[in-house]
Amino acid sequence: MDFILNEEQAILKGSVARFSADLRAAMDKKTVTAADRWGRYADMGLLGLPFDEDFGGFGGGGVETMIVAEEMGRHLLADPYVPVVVVAGRLLADHCSEEQKAYLLPRVADGSLIVVPAFGEPKSRYSLSRVATTAVPSKDGFVLDGRKAVVLSGAAANLLLVTARLSGEVGDEDGIGVFLVPGDLPGVTRRPVLTVDGREAAEIVLDGVRVDKTAALGTLGRGGAIARRAEEFGVAALAGEAVGAMSAVFDMTVEYLQTRRQFGVPIGKFQALQHRVVDMRVALELARSIAAGAAIAADLDNAQERRRIISAAKVQVCRSGRYIGQQAIQLHGAMGMTDEYGAGRYFKRLLVLSSLYGDADHHLERFVSASQYDEGGALVA
């Protein structure tokens, strides 16, 4: 493994870091709207990052999107970069027709089109194959019926990537399609809800929604695998975002321990708190390394190895994130419980990130199933 950024990546990291810090400052001054922010991402070229140059992009891979996500996490930028650019963006780039790509990708890249994955359902938990929403073939295309749950930025999106079942039973791996559904199509009802980290999600009802044939992306019936592959890119990026958030709240905690005085000394002088900070730092470094590993692995062709590393990263990031977030609050004392102080905002973001695209238990299961060994204990490829 080579963890050193190449020159282009290092330049990207530097410019995204400056960009994100500036954007945070503007948000704190309330001088930018969500639309302004999205426009700035577009201007920076970040929204087309994973696309080919032909489509207004830069051909970035897992490492590049992780770099962006990490800085967003560090500065708590409240924008749906990962769902739109990484998950939906990669899915579109990999499964649209050339014609669709020519239309869609430049619009995602310039910020005029917000497209989000709508894979989850009220009873699906984190499974992408427990799809009860149905897609019934019609003369010109398909009719979609069902419900989609906790769709991040689902109300703001112009386009939804909806998984729906063409055949088989709920839970079957096969028989699922991915459909492009404009958010304002007749029969689409979107109910916006706030999220615990102050963003927006939507519960979506699809009631006899008619889409044409070209709305079905990729190999028909393989939608579970298609969604899962796109979500893998998302998990790898999220892991980076979580590392950014952990890193920021860790720094904040260190500074608090250096400056908060009790009993005549900075409280960072107390050995029990010192050792806690060390354990937080260990948790942070483990998460940082494996998130980087996941970003690299996201582009691997070997599906088993890729899944194994990405799921390992999510497990570690969930655990490190819980620990670092909880200890950050604890070490800030009562101050950590106040909304005004920033630690709590990172804590809430980390809570969302620990659930999004599968929690630690879910990914532990995926890790185990991707880890098959021979009798000598060697990983079977």
Binding site: S127, T195, V196, Q262, F263, I329, Q330, A334, T338, S355
Partner: protein, 397 residues
């Protein structure tokens, strides 16, 4: 040693349980069970009922309205109150009440104790300051004698429900030139005093419970001094060390663990009840075992200490009790899967009303409860301080 409590104790438990079932408002019970925030009315209704039964001040001496219960009875009472989803008793009754009984003037007793027994008088606790948290002895709020009153300047922070409180019991510095602990006095401050203002502090769960209080030349009559000038530190220690039989929070933990199991039976993963998944079931089982061990520890230490008053064991129970409850709340934040993400502060307070719930209706309060749970290892003496106290008693160094 015997399995189960004595028959008398079981009869007593049944009596407590029946009382709660009969007298606690079903609406309040539902709110507590669902992890919603309470209004003042929820508390008042319950306090009135407790008062009518004579059960509102079990920890006070019998001659001042106490129940005369044994330590075990108080433990059972507190467990049942928590299991029955009743609101907790105000801090005033368990904190300043015993101090006034022990050190207050006759006038103070006459003026405050009966009102507290009726559940009408709400107190704010005025100990912490922005610069004085764990290190309380460094507090800086000053009180200068001026005729028949002290003039108080400074600020106090982390008052719970100060907007309901009529009075505050506060620690203030009356003597600047002595050792830090010796210059502190305790006084009773009318929350409507001119110059006293309160400022709401929003918490990470969106709650409205916490306040900061500012004192700008607030005049406090000398008659409101508790005990002797300069002895406030010893009264505070008396108060903080006051017997807390339920400090491990066994009843609270049991109620949340039952909630977790109920939700895990209702939620599904890959089409099977989540509670049947070995991974999730094992984690619950581990919590159950620790809770059983902690429950037995609570009861054992109580029985061993009967008549001796509280020891450092209360630190042990506080540490493990809070950490265990936090683990339960953490699992509660995982049980509903992605539905931990939606969050509406109004729904946390009042429920979905006529709206269709987003996700299962029980999901709406889980994030709030998880966030709020992080405070229990901080408030009432952070667990780091509790560990210091316990280490000192073990090592004597």
């Amino acid at each position: 040693m015997k399995f189960a409590f004595s028959a008398e104790m079981e009869i007593f438990r049944d009596e407590v349980r029946a009382f709660i079932r009969e007298k606690l408002s079903p609406e309040t019970r539902r709110r507590v069970e669902e992890g919603r925030r309470l209004d003042k009315a929820d508390y008042v209704q319950w306090y009135r009922a407790l008062h009518a039964k004579g059960w509102i001040t079990p920890g006070w001496p019998k001659e001042h309205g106490g129940t005369g219960w044994t330590a075990l009875q108080r433990y059972i009472f507190e467990e049942e109150v928590a299991l029955g989803a009743a609101p907790p008793v105000t801090a005033g009754i368990n904190m300043i009440g015993p101090v006034l009984i022990a050190f207050g003037t006759e006038e103070q007793k006459r003026k405050y104790l009966p009102a507290m027994r009726q559940g009408d008088l709400w107190w704010a606790q005025g100990f912490s300051e922005p610069g004085s948290g764990s290190d309380l002895a460094s507090l800086a709020t000053r009180a200068v004698l001026d005729g028949d009153a002290y003039v108080v300047n400074g600020t106090k922070i982390w008052q719970t429900q100060a907007h309901y409180a009529e009075m505050m019991f506060a620690l203030v510095r009356t003597k600047p030139d002595v050792k830090p602990q010796e210059g502190i006095s305790m006084m009773l401050i009318d929350m409507k005093s001119p110059g006293l203002s309160i400022h709401h502090i929003k918490t990470i769960d969106g709650g409205q419970e916490l306040y900061q209080c500012f004192f700008d030349n607030v005049r406090v009559p000398v008659a409101n001094l508790v005990g002797e000038d300069g002895k406030g530190w010893s009264y505070a220690k008396f108060l903080l060390g006051f017997e807390r039989h339920g400090i491990a929070g066994i009843g609270l933990a049991k109620r949340q663990l039952n909630r977790l199991k109920r939700l895990a039976a209702s939620e599904t993963s890959d089409g099977r009840p989540l509670i049947e998944k070995p991974r999730f079931r094992d984690r619950i089982a581990t919590l159950e075992i620790e809770l059983l061990a902690l429950e037995y520890t609570s009861i054992r230490l109580l029985q061993e200490g009967e008549g001796k008053g509280p020891g450092v064991e209360s630190s042990l129970l506080k540490i493990k009790g809070t950490e265990l409850r936090q683990e339960i709340f953490e699992m509660l934040s995982e049980v509903v899967g992605p539905y931990i993400i939606p969050y509406d502060n109004d729904v946390v307070r009042s429920g979905w009303g006529h709206d269709e719930p987003v996700g299962p209706d029980y999901a709406a309060t889980l994030a709030s409860n998880y966030l709020d749970s992080r405070k229990i290892s901080i408030y009432g003496g952070a667990n780091e301080i509790q560990r210091n106290v316990l280490a000192k008693s073990i090592l004597g160094l």
